[in-house]
C-alpha cells in the first residue's frame, strides 16, 4: 500500500465521531462601520498611503507627482500610454522586471477592517509584478469596499480563481530586534487611490 492510502486509512480509523460544521453568521461581527474611513485608517496603520481622487487621470498625475524621478513605470489603467516606459513584451521574462520603479494596478475589492486590497490574475499582467516593483499603486472604487473578510469572501467565487492576493500595506519585517522596517522582499511602498 502506498503512503497515500496508508495515511488516509489511518486518519479514517483515528478520527473522532462526526462533529457538525458550525455556520458563520457575519451579522454577529457587524458594527456598522464607516467603510471608507475604516479602510483609510487601517491602510495607514499598515504603512500605506491613501488618497481620494475623481478619476484615473488624476491617479496617474498624482502618481507622477509622488514619484517624479523614476525610470521604469507601468500602469494597466486605460490611457496610460504617456506614463508607461515598458509594455507587455517586458512581461515575457519577469526576471527582468527587477528594475521596475512604479506599478499602477486596478482592484475591484477592498476590505475595511484591515485595509486589504484584492488582486487576481485578471488584474495583474504577470504574477510576480506587484511584489518585484519598488512602489505599488492601487486604484480602488470606494463602493467596492466591504466591511469584513466574510463579505470579501462572499464576493470571490472559489471555483473561478486561479491566483489571488490580499495586500495590506507595503512589505515589512521586524525580524531584527523587533524594529519595524518597511520594504522587506516585496514592494517598499503602497499607495491606494480611492475613487
Amino acid at each position: 500500500m502506498d503512503s497515500r492510502d496508508t495515511i488516509l486509512k489511518k486518519l479514517k480509523a483515528n478520527k473522532p465521531e462526526f462533529i457538525a460544521l458550525p455556520k458563520i453568521n457575519p451579522a454577529v461581527f457587524d458594527e456598522n462601520i464607516d467603510k471608507v474611513k475604516e479602510f483609510i485608517r487601517k491602510t495607514e496603520v499598515a504603512g500605506g498611503k491613501v488618497f481620494e481622487v475623481t478619476d484615473n487621470k488624476e491617479v496617474l498625475s498624482k502618481t507622477q507627482e509622488a514619484f517624479p524621478e523614476t525610470k521604469v513605470n507601468f500602469s494597466n489603467l486605460d490611457d496610460s500610454g504617456f506614463f508607461n516606459t515598458i509594455d507587455s513584451e517586458s512581461f515575457k521574462n519577469p526576471h527582468e522586471l527587477n528594475d521596475l520603479d512604479v506599478l499602477v494596478l486596478e482592484s475591484t475589492l477592498g476590505v475595511a477592517e484591515n485595509g486589504a486590497v484584492w488582486l487576481t490574475d485578471n488584474d495583474i499582467p504577470v504574477r510576480v509584478i506587484p511584489f518585484i516593483t519598488k512602489h505599488l499603486v492601487l486604484v480602488l472604487p470606494k463602493e467596492n469596499i466591504v466591511p469584513y473578510m466574510h463579505q470579501a469572501y462572499s464576493a470571490i467565487n472559489p471555483m473561478d480563481l486561479d491566483y489571488g492576493i490580499f495586500i495590506s500595506g507595503p512589505s515589512k519585517t521586524a525580524d531584527i530586534e523587533q524594529s519595524l522596517v518597511i520594504g522587506a522582499q516585496g514592494a517598499m511602498s503602497l499607495t491606494v487611490f480611492l475613487k
Binding site: 489511518k10 492576493i165 516585496g186
Partner: protein, 460 residues
Amino acid sequence: MSHSKLAGIFNKDEKKVDWHDKALWFVRHKRDLSVHQVKGWEELRNLGHGIKAHTLSHLDVYLEQFEANALKNGVQVHWAANGDEHNQIVHSILKADNAKKVVKSKSMLTEECHLNPFLEANDIEVIDTDLGERIVQLAKEKPSHIVLPAIHKNKLEVDELFQEHLGTEPCDGDPQYLTGEARKHLREKFIHADAAITGVNFAIAENGGFVVCTNEGNADMGAHLAPIHIACMGVEKIIPKQEHLGVFLRLLARSATGQPITTYSSHFRKPGKGVKMHIVIVDNGRSKQLSRPDFRASLHCIRCGACMNTCPIYRRSGGHSYDATIPGPIGSILSPGKDLTKYSTLPFASTLCGSCSDVCPVKIDIHTQLYKWRQIIGKETPQPFIKKKSMAAMGKIFSKPSLYGKVGAVARWALRTLPKSLINAWPNIWGKTRDLPVGPKKSFDQWYKERENNKKTDQK
C-alpha cells in the same frame, strides 16, 4: 537535555532574557489591543475551534476532496508518511528538473522534517528567504519562535553575521540598513532560483487551493519567479471551504502580531504560466495524535505563536530550551506525542496558569493538555530520583493530617533555624536562584483557630 537545563543556558545572559521577556510581552500586548477592537472576537474563536474540530472529524474525506480538486487544477499531489519520505519526494521533484538552487519561505513543516540538511547533503542550495529565518540559517541555528524565528538574537549579532556572510559594513546593528542589504542579497537569490518551496497556512478542500501568509512578500517572490513551486503541508492544514478563510485570516495575524491581517495573503490555485506546481501532504505523527482523544485538539493549531508570547516560561527560557521545531506551550503538547521519553520534561515547563489557552485563537485547551501529559509521563517515564522520592513523601504527608501538622512544625523550625547553605543544598532545586522565606512560628491552622477563639472571646 531537559528543558530546565537548556533554559539554564539561555538564562546565563540575564540582559538578553530580560529583553526577550519584554519584547514578547509587548507582542502579546499588541495582540490584546488588536483583538479588543473586533466585535464578536470570542464568537470568532468559537468558530475557529468549531471549524477545526469538524474538519478533524472528517479529515480523510476533505483530504481526498482537496487532492481531487488540486489535480483538476493542474497541480501534482504527493503524500508522505513521515519526514524522510517528505524529503525524498521534494528531492525527487527537484532532481527531475535538475534544480540546484532553491528559495524557501517559512514552513515549520520543512523544519520539522529537517529538509534543509537533507537537500544540502544532496548538493542543493537552500536559501531561507524570510529575514528572520535567513538570520538563523546564517548563524547555523534553528528558529526559536514560529512567527519570530530570530527573536533570540540581538541586532549586534545580526550585524556581525551579515558582515561575515553578506559582506556588509559595520553599522552598530542598524535594522534599516541590515534589512536593505538582506533585500539585495535575497533578490539575487530569487532571480536565480530553480525552484521555490513554501509552506501552507490553509488548504481549501472545496477548490483545491491553498493560502500562504507573509509580511515580507518572500513566498510570492519565490513562487512566481521560479519554474517549480513546491508547497508542503501537514494533513491538518485543510479547511472545508473558502468562506472559512474569513474566520481564520481574521484570527491569525491579530493573534500573532496584532496586525489585522498580514501584508500578503496569497491564494494559490492554478499554476502560473510556465510553472510546475506540487503539493506534498505530510502525516509525520499527525494521524497518531488524532487517535488520542485528550490531545487531538492540538491539531487545531494555526501557528500564530500567541501561546509563546504570553507564556511566562517561554519568555524566560527561550525557544531553544524546548529542543523541538515547535516550542512553547503548543510545542509542549505536540512533542510528547512524538517521543514521550525525549520530551518528557516539556509538559512540566509550565506554571499551568492557563494564559496560553486564553489567547489561543482556535481555543485549544493547552494547559489542560499539559496537565494530562504530566499524568501520563509520571506513570510511563522514569522520573528523577529526588523528584520521585519527594513526591511520594509529599503524597504520604498530605494524606495524613496529623503527620502534616508534625512535619509542618519541623519545617517551620528548620526554615527559621538552619543555615541557608543547608536549606539550599543541592537537592533543593528551588533554592538555586531563590531564597525560601523565614519560617513563621505558627501554622495557618493554629493561627486560624486562635483567631476564631479570639472572636468568640470578643463577642462574649
